[in-house]
């Protein structure tokens, strides 16, 4: 561990709150999104508890509605969207590129402040009595019929959107202009490719949801009729504009995880990744095609049948790059030298859960089946498999993998493995029964439900308690390791990549001298030879 590194280069609250160091900004995000995750988690716990009884165990429907709205808004806009990009992306992009910082460090800090401003609006909405629109803010319910804090919540999401835009802008410019000498596009780690694709979605999609929510606020304030059918407005237009961002936003959540998993699978198989170009281009393909499929959220909304058919076909198309990725990861394991530290367990868990999540996505893209399962628990199960089974598993894997780099210390791997397994088991127990519930026809956002659905709901709640435990354990040992963990050294996993060539934790300017890249990434075959010689 170097004597002076970015963590101890400066002390005091001010040195953190006014920092322009991308690594410290990553910490700011890490702390804030962990806070938001816990809020969303508490809401989820209460929801699951309530669903133990068909008539609702602990809260009234009114409160339940606020719980799922807050769970959705906080988890999506304030945890999942910024999770990997703002924490790992901020920390790693300059390191992986061999750069001293991102292209616009002050803008980077600004985006954290913007994010927190948006977050405080949402927290205000929560404390002042909650909001019960659901995270989708559908009109005219949100504009005309609810008396809760819709404007504060929508305003918070609106503001936080600019944080995404600035982050995405910063990343794209950084990736284009700040690469170390010799680091050509096809020498970039796949995590960078994934972050690049994610940033495209940030840049293109977020402004649309921002203006849409602004219109919603205007509509609610002045009641001018943009989305009010009584005045000639079209509520389905709101859905179009909303999903134009919010479907690609799903890829904002999963693409970075795919990037992380690409890194993990190759590092722990100690083997070059299989089909580098295919994984790289499939990321970009997902980002582009992902913008063409939003209408599959609206098959039964009164959207035109023709539009439904077009969106269905395009949604099918997005399955293919995802499948390509899964096959390539699997093939990477072939003839590898695989070890099972905690990050690898998360990566393998990701592959399994993402496979299920992705395949069930096909049910929803198929018009005739969606007509049955749309907005039922089937959808809930599907997107939790993608977002929790996919995005959060990737996030956890990434945090564990780069933790030695971030903190300079090792965490107890045995505990980490136990936690990974608990999360995997708990997750499946929570969400697999929901597929069945959904096909049986239990609608989402139901505070009370017919009694024949109770057994499956009880199983699901049981799983959720295991899952919750699984998330608490890492919090404890990671916090412990910051102070007491053994020193990691620059490259504890014997991994390749520029971030592992500098000290752990890195110094403020990342590298002693600008690295020069001379070969493709994941040169594990060479590394293996070196190890053998040594």
């Amino acid at each position: 561990m170097p004597r002076v590194h970015y963590l101890n280069a400066d002390y005091g609250i001010k040195s953190w709150l006014l920092t322009t160091d991308h690594k410290r900004i990553a910490w700011l995000y890490l702390v804030s999104i962990t806070f938001f995750f816990s809020i969303g988690g508490v809401a989820a716990t209460l929801m699951r508890l309530n669903l133990l009884e068909p008539q609702g165990l602990i809260v009234e429907p009114e409160t339940y509605n606020k719980l799922f709205s807050m769970h959705g808004i906080v988890m999506i806009f304030f945890f999942l969207v910024p999770s990997i990009p703002a924490v790992l992306g901020n920390f790693l992009i300059p390191l992986m590129l061999g750069a001293r910082d991102v292209a616009f460090p002050r803008l980077n800090l600004l985006s954290w402040y913007v994010f927190m401003t948006g977050g405080s609006f949402v927290l205000y909405a929560l404390i002042a009595g909650g909001v019960d629109t659901g995270w989708t803010f559908y009109t005219p319910l949100s504009t005309l019929y609810l008396n809760t804090h819709v404007m504060a919540a929508a305003g918070g999401v609106f503001i936080a959107g600019f944080s995404s835009i600035l982050t995405g802008l910063n990343f794209v410019v950084t990736i284009h202009k700040m690469r170390a000498p010799g680091l050509t596009w096809f020498r970039l780690p796949l995590f960078i490719w994934a972050m690049y694709a994610t940033s495209i979605i940030f840049i293109i999609g977020t402004p649309v949801v921002a203006i849409t929510l602004a219109l919603l606020i205007i509509e609610r304030f002045f009641h001018v009729g943009i989305f009010d059918p009584a005045l000639g407005g079209d509520p389905i237009l709101f859905q179009h504009l909303f999903w134009f961002y919010s479907h690609p936003a799903v890829y904002v959540m999963i693409l970075p995880s795919m990037g992380v998993v690409s890194e993990l699978v190759t590092a722990f198989s100690r083997k070059k990744i299989f089909g580098y170009h295919f994984i790289a281009f499939s990321s970009v393909a997902i980002a582009v095609i992902g913008f063409l499929v939003w209408g599959h959220h609206m098959f039964v909304s009164g959207q035109s049948v023709y539009a439904g058919l077009v969106f269905s076909a395009l949604s099918m198309a997005v399955a293919i790059p995802s499948a390509v990725k899964v096959f390539n990861w699997t093939a990477t394991l072939y003839k590898g030298s695989i070890s099972y530290e905690a990050p690898m367990l998360y990566a393998l868990g990701f592959i399994g859960l993402f496979t299920i999540g992705g395949l069930t996505g096909l049910y929803l893209a198929t018009t005739a089946i969606d007509q049955h399962v749309h907005a039922t628990y089937f959808v809930i199960a599907h997107f939790h498999y993608i977002m929790v089974g996919g995005a959060v598993m990737g996030y956890m894997g990434g945090i564990h993998y780069w933790w030695p780099k971030i903190s300079g210390r090792l965490y107890p791997d045995a505990w980490a493995r136990v936690a990974a397994i608990i999360i995997f088991v708990g997750f499946n127990l929570t969400f697999f029964p929901q597929f069945i519930l959904g096909y049986l026809g239990m609608p989402r956002r139901y505070a009370v439900y017919p009694p024949e659905f109770q057994t499956l709901n009880v199983i699901s709640t049981a799983g959720a308690s295991i899952l919750g435990l699984g998330y608490i354990i890492p919090l404890i040992y990671l916090a412990w390791s910051i102070r007491y963990g053994p020193v990691a050294g620059p490259n504890p996993w014997k991994a390749t990549g520029l971030e592992w060539t500098t000290s752990s934790p890195p110094t403020t300017h990342n590298f002693e001298e600008t690295p020069v890249v001379t070969e493709e990434p994941y040169g594990y075959d060479r590394l293996a030879e070196e190890i053998q010689v040594a």
Partner: protein, 316 residues
């Protein structure tokens, strides 16, 4: 557990088996690929586990294989194409109600379902239908977006304010099935549900005729026609006549031609200046706020009853 719990929903409509067959196909594909991935990952994970700390990699590494990549691009592509066309086929067929379908009207409001049969019989949070008869629901909402979902029939459709959407099904089994509001609509969303009673034609007929005043929807519409003074213009030639109007093309002042459908009639009552019939002055006042969605449906039923053939021309 207090209740026996089902794992698969009942199949009670002509659509249900079709959807389920597609569902089985997708499940087969999903299970196959999940199993394939899981087994491969598991097999590789065991076979290529690192046995010693610095074990060298096996020889003859492959890191790229174009035929393999092409294969696992093309095979999923074919499979999703099958899913797409199969699903689209069912979807399109189901988008168009058969012409001989019995029409029932559904109005959603926070937080109950109001259902009206053409003979004037009304019910709340319940829908009685005969078995083996195609039923077409014409639905609208009085406030926010709702959604009429019958799991056992595998159909759902959003119910929008100021607009008609339709949904149709043909029940195949007598029984009692859930229907749900499936679009979050505020506080009582989860209470906005009821039962579909599928009855034998005889039982249905008996149910339908019990407790009805004999006043059909069209009759009620006729009353409204007088009550709201529609007759003063539309019965005197100041405004376009209703007889034989329904389903016929109407020429508008801006040169367009529209079909006199439910939606057109509804819009003409509530937003009369939006589409002006050619040759008539735009003098009709709006009835927005004065007539309820239910009354609009009754007026529409009345206009329908005047037929597209010009029968009953003499009325009013």
């Amino acid at each position: 557990m207090p209740h026996a719990f089902p794992l698969f929903p009942q199949e009670a409509s002509t659509l249900a088996p079709a959807v389920d067959h597609l569902f089985y196909f997708l499940t087969a594909v999903s299970v196959f690929f999940s199993a394939l991935i899981f087994l491969l990952v598991f097999y590789f994970a065991v076979k290529y586990r690192r046995r010693s700390k610095d074990e060298p990699l096996p020889k003859n590494q492959i890191i790229n294989n174009i035929p393999l990549e092409v294969m696992w691009t093309v095979i999923p592509m074919i499979l999703v194409a099958i899913m797409y066309f199969w699903g689209a086929d069912i979807f399109v067929k189901n988008a168009q109600p058969p012409k001989n379908a019995t029409e029932i009207f559904v109005i959603g409001k926070q937080w109950m379902w109001h259902i009206e049969h053409t003979n004037g019989k009304r019910e709340i949070n319940a829908l009685h239908i005969p078995v083996n008869v195609p039923i077409k629901l014409t639905m609208t909402s009085q406030d926010v977006i709702h959604d009429f979902f019958v799991p056992a029939f595998r159909v759902k459709k959003d119910v929008l304010p100021d607009r008609y959407t339709t949904e149709w099904f043909e029940a195949t089994r007598v029984g009692k099935y859930h229907f749900f509001c499936n679009q979050y609509c505020g506080m009582g969303h989860s209470l906005m549900r009821g039962w579909v009673y599928v009855m034998s034609p005889e039982d249905y007929q008996r149910w339908l005729e019990s407790g009805v005043s004999g006043v059909t929807m069209a009759d009620q519409g006729e009353t409204l026609y007088h009550q709201f003074g529609c007759i003063t213009c539309h019965g005197t030639g100041k405004g376009p006549a209703f007889a034989g109007l329904y389903g016929k093309p109407v020429k508008l002042t801006d040169g367009q031609t529209v079909i006199a459908s439910d939606a057109y009639i509804r819009e003409s009552i509530l937003y009369p200046t939006a589409q002006i019939v050619n040759g008539y002055p735009p003098i009709m006042p709006t009835f927005k706020g004065q007539v309820s969605e239910e009354q609009v449906l009754q007026l529409t039923a009345y206009i329908k009853s005047l037929g597209s053939t010009g029968r009953n021309t003499g009325t009013p």
